[in-house]
């Protein structure tokens, strides 16, 4: 792939120019962060819960192929069907064909990042199948013709006023009162639930022991998508499985607090298989699609494997200064923020900017916030190493060579001292040069007479003073 495929630097500079969007993003993220902090503070045993969850995630990854096999057996025994898809495209094609074969025209969808990852909506549209997002945030994004900007809150970057305008345009009805706005969306969505031929949902946790698919939500729309229409298709990436119900409980212990600051979400649904003989509701057909899209390779990588512990809580996004400044769209990938900067380059499709792992200040706020114990800075460092191995970096190489020879290093600094007043002039005449861009918000103090040259006289003064004192 060509290196100029995507440029995070350019996209983020552009995003930074959009002041109203930045203000909305700030307010929203600030709010989620407070909620999370409050709930974590209220749980004195949070570190223990977190340690248990990390252990469960690691145990799961250690025996993933077995668990997937067990999951498949149990789902099948409960009347469901399991499909494995190796790539994003094959996953989208598989689901599209499955639905087209059954004459499906209208699909209701519960929020699912993996369906974004595999580009499902576009694939369905190309096959003439209408797919309606039913999560309120995701619905807003779909109506606006955009992509989600946050893995948890897809419409985080949109203000109440913007939604109100959008609704006015789309439905001819509007309000800025949140309950009323929800009602408007609900009235439109209700029709879709009743008319839909199939429902598609994601999956927060799949339980191998029972063949159960678990989803967390606050609106109830995922539950409706999975149970109203006659066909339910659940899509998951292969690392979402855990071994037992007890293991699922351990993950549930930390996911909602880290995500939205809730102890548990409003709705927690467990779907096992399809409608059985004598049951009055539930889908007649249930399909579980398990997507790989590069994850087997990540699993086989001893250094990077830990990114698969991620439970998609979004906490790392909410504390990341880069994400907070530029928002999710600037990343140009499905998964933004720290987890995305690690995961996206490893995925087969839409890896974004190959230099994404460098777009990080190494502040480590992500690792501190991550309930799954992922050390993003270390993983990004490893990705940087791999990217750098195939590239020359003349400036860094030159600096390192100089630094091996103190005389040359000192000489270069002396040379720099005579030149650095000119940096400001360079910045003035070439504001778009690297120097100009660096100095836009900074007045560089310039190089000084080195400390080591002052040290001798300082040491003399200090020893005199010490001598005099004792």
């Amino acid at each position: 792939m060509s290196k100029s495929a995507y440029d995070f630097g350019r996209a983020s500079a552009k995003a930074l120019g959009d002041r109203p969007s930045r203000a909305i993003l700030h307010k929203a993220i600030g709010h989620i962060r407070v909620l999370r902090q409050r709930s974590v503070n209220a749980m004195p045993d949070f570190p223990e819960r977190q340690a248990r969850a990390v252990a469960v995630r690691d145990k799961t990854l250690a025996r993933l192929p077995d668990l997937l096999e067990a999951l498949e057996a149990k789902v099948t025994a409960a009347g469901g069907n399991v499909h494995f898809a190796e790539t994003a495209d094959s996953a989208a094609a598989l689901i599209t064909k499955l639905l087209a074969d059954r004459g499906v025209r209208l699909v209701v969808k519960g929020k699912s990042m993996v369906s974004e990852e595999i580009g499902l909506n576009d694939a369905l549209a190309a096959a003439g199948i209408e797919a309606v997002e039913t999560d309120l945030g995701e619905y807003i994004i779909q109506l606006a013709g955009q992509r989600p900007s946050h893995i948890l809150a897809p419409a985080l970057h949109v203000s109440k006023e913007q939604v109100s305008e959008l609704f006015a345009r789309k439905f001819g009805r509007t309000s800025t009162d949140i309950p009323e706005m929800t009602r408007i969306a609900r009235d439109s969505l209700r029709q879709k639930f009743l008319a839909a031929d199939a429902g598609i949902t994601g999956c927060n946790i799949a339980i191998a022991e029972t063949g159960t698919v678990t989803v967390l939500e606050n609106e109830g729309n995922i539950r409706l998508s999975a149970s109203c229409p006659p066909i339910h298709v659940a899509v998951m990436t292969l690392e979402k499985v855990v071994e037992t119900l007890a293991d699922a409980a351990v993950v549930l212990d930390i996911l909602p607090p880290s995500a939205t600051g809730q102890t548990l979400p409003v709705h927690l649904s467990f779907f096992t298989g399809a409608r059985r003989e004598g049951e009055r509701d539930g889908p007649k057909e249930m399909h579980l699609v398990i997507v790989d899209n590069g994850r087997s390779e990540i699993l086989a990588d001893p250094v990077l494997r830990s990114i698969l512990r991620c439970i998609r809580c979004g906490a790392c996004l909410n504390v990341c200064p880069v994400y907070q400044s530029v928002g999710g769209h600037a990343y140009g990938t499905v998964y933004p923020g720290p987890m995305g900067s690690v995961l996206s380059p490893l995925l087969k499709d839409n890896p974004g900017d190959p230099r994404q792992p460098f777009a990080c200040t190494h502040c480590a706020a992500c690792a501190e916030a991550c309930p799954a114990g992922i050390d993003h800075p270390a993983l990004l460092q490893e990705l940087r190493r791999r990217v750098s191995a195939g590239e020359s970096d003349p400036a860094v190489t030159a600096f390192s060579l100089l630094a091996r020879h103190p005389l040359l290093f000192g000489g270069a600094a002396a040379l720099g001292r005579t030149f650095d007043p000119k940096l400001t002039e360079v910045a003035a005449v070439a504001p778009e040069s690297p120097v100009g861009r660096f100095l836009r918000g900074r007045a560089f103090p310039g190089l000084s007479r080195p400390f080591s040259r002052r040290f001798k006289s300082l040491a003399r003064r200090l020893s005199r003073k010490q001598g005099g004192r004792s």
């Binding site: 400044s325 200040t361 706020a365 460092q381 390192s400 100089l402 080195p450 040290f455």
Partner: protein, 240 residues
């Protein structure tokens, strides 16, 4: 007793006053500061670019220069953290691995050395005024030496620390990050400066020279009368 000064390149060439204050602080607690010859740079810039191969020769130089030191004291959390990583650059059976480990184990950030190694928090320093503390990510999160900074500042007579809105938030420097992504870096920095201004403090204190330089350069650009100070500079305040 002697303490060897590990002076990061940024301090050597841009913020020499921080080096001086560090030497004075060590002298204040009865140590003789020693400045070994031949120091250049710890290699952090190359490390963060993913070029461990370019750091290794610098790590070997560092180990040779500081091998005999009783203790190595550095006025930077990020450079100290880099030296602590040196052993990981060498294979376990490489003799440099063990040598780097010995040197890493006796390398300390200034505040960490004073509080955790010497048990000193009160240096008899005086600073009349209000200040905000910028808890550098590298010092507090990466190195885990945030609380010594706070303990030392708590004992400075006359100093009133005013809270920052988000003390834990990064200032946006990140070494090469600020050159590679100057717009994002400055957007993050602007928020830090806004928080500092909103705090009403007369000065801003940090234990990390790169944050200090970043914040100072933005304060200068905006011509704000807030003094940027390194921890060491505050600790020598009012010293006779």
């Amino acid at each position: 007793m002697e303490a060897f000064l590990f002076i990061p390149c940024l301090v050597e060439h841009v913020l020499p006053q921080v080096g001086e204050a560090t030497a004075m602080v060590l002298s204040r607690v009865g140590l003789t500061p020693v400045m070994p010859k031949g120091q250049t740079c710890c290699g952090q810039f190359a490390y963060k670019r993913g070029r461990a191969d370019l750091v290794r020769p610098l790590a070997r130089r560092f180990v040779e220069i500081f091998g005999d030191a009783p203790a190595i004291v550095c006025p930077s959390g990020s450079c100290t953290a880099m030296v602590r990583r040196y052993p990981s650059l060498f294979a376990e059976d490489d003799p440099w691995h063990a040598r780097a480990g010995q040197v890493a184990a006796k390398t300390f950030e200034l505040g960490q050395y004073l509080v955790e190694q010497l048990g000193v928090t009160d240096l008899g320093a005086r600073f009349d005024g209000t200040a905000a503390l910028h808890a550098s990510c590298q010092t507090s999160r990466v190195l885990g030496a945030g609380s010594p900074t706070e303990a030392l500042l708590a004992k400075v007579a006359g100093l009133t620390l005013v809270p920052l809105a988000r003390p834990e938030r990064c200032c946006g420097f990140g070494g090469a990050f600020s050159v590679d992504y100057p717009e994002v870096s400055q957007a993050i920095l602007t928020e830090k400066i806004d928080d500092i201004v909103a705090s009403g403090a007369e000065a801003v204190i940090t234990a990390e020279p790169s944050c200090l330089l970043n914040i100072a350069s933005a304060l200068a650009k905006r011509e704000l009368p807030i003094r940027p100070l390194h921890l060491a500079e505050v600790l020598v305040g009012g010293m006779a």
